[in-house]
Symmetry: C2
Subunit: 245 residues, 2 copies
């Protein structure tokens, strides 16, 4: 009961962050250096994750991981996948690592995976140990365990979700410009979007509310700010039945 870790159940978090230019993800160093020779035995990266405590709900565990990294509660969080192949931690490097950090390498660990959405500029990552920081998705280092696979699934899940729910706002400040929103979609879907068509689409959405406020101190025509109105969204959300077959 209480703070004892469950040996078989962990939670991994794919924390996406948008910095107005590209999409990033928080990774943590996994470094093991032989003290005598200075030789790097292990030098790669993992997603933030933790074993759940016994009697801790999965979502609470994910929120705990997020809080420890960002100091924030109430971050957008969504479960998207659970990995549970007994072979997933069985390669020699991972086995060696698990021994080094005092886990039983023989355990079958099922990992429940969540993704979260943030705006990079509104977060300062808390350093406790092992140096967590943002890495651009377009330029990732080598990932440990099956974390490349998990990240791939997370990306697919994010795109899917973004296709039917307006959660892009979670990666922007409360007030944002349409160009910022457009850039976000372009980055997530790795594409370019026509500015006029994009804005025409926005104009149809009642839950995107234009403010009187404008950008200040930019050396070009200042953009108008918009906010996302959740009330309007709830009213006008379209339960589309647009099946592809």
């Amino acid at each position: 009961m209480g703070k004892e870790e469950h040996p078989n159940i962990s939670v991994d978090c794919v924390i996406f962050g948008f910095d107005f230019e590209k999409l990033n993800v928080i990774l943590i160093e996994r470094k093991l250096i032989e003290p005598d020779t200075g030789k790097r035995l292990i030098n790669d990266y993992t997603l933030p994750g933790a074993h759940i405590f016994k009697d801790e709900p999965l979502k609470k565990a994910a929120q705990r991981i997020l809080y420890d990294l960002t100091g924030l509660h109430d971050i957008y969080l969504e479960q998207f996948y659970t990995v549970g192949d007994p072979a997933r931690l069985k390669n020699p490097v991972d086995q060696f690592w698990l021994e080094c950090i005092g886990k039983d390498p023989a355990e079958h660990v099922v990992s429940v995976c969540y993704f979260s959405l943030l705006n990079c500029n509104q977060v300062t990552i808390q350093h406790k140990e092992r140096n967590p920081r943002w890495y651009p998705l377009k330029d990732l280092p080598v990932l440990a365990f099956d974390h490349a696979h998990i990240l791939d699934k997370a990306m697919t899940a994010l795109r899917r979700k973004l296709q039917y729910e307006p959660i892009g706002f979670e990666m922007l400040p409360d007030k944002f410009t349409l160009s910022q929103l457009q850039k976000l979609y372009e980055v997530v879907f790795d594409t370019t979007i026509d500015k006029r068509n994009f804005r025409k689409k926005i104009a149809r959405l009642k839950y995107l509310v234009q403010l009187d406020e404008k950008q200040q101190g930019v050396s070009h025509k200042p953009a108008r700010y918009y906010i996302f109105s959740n009330e309007e969204y709830k009213k006008t959300r379209n339960n589309i039945l647009n099946f592809t077959i």
Copy 2:
């Protein structure tokens, strides 16, 4: 190792079956009758599920459950959700039941949930114990544990999936008529579809191949059979970027 059950990790299966009229799901009786009085202490229904064996992959466990119920391998199977709140099995009836079947009611059981798709008429459910059978989704009995919640999530996941991938075929025979396919969509989305518009849409899809073969022995104009061509689908699948924002 081997056939020992993992006390904390289970797999539940939501097995959807289409019978050309409605959507059904396989449920299993949970019955407990007091021997003396004949009083029904428990009388409700559960989704098929099982604890995984130690060192068994999650998907293998799901396939095992499906095989035990249907005698079939290679059924469409998709993971959609994992429940892991320690409170999920803590109501008195469920606790009592767990004790009766020899499980430790205090364990925190994380359940990884899969849904599968079948055509009811092509399956005979294997009776081992506790009488599993099809129940119409529109007329469900009382469900045990948090299985009503899981079923709800499954239904949402099925609809979403059906909106961007043509997996409806998994609930039809290899050869099917367009009316059968239309009925399937109508039933899953609880709506009605215009016949001519539906068929116009189908005509655009190259992976729906019309056969020369027709229905036989029906007391009306016999319908042409169609098959789903996976090769064509892979060629023409559209990676649409149709975001709602």
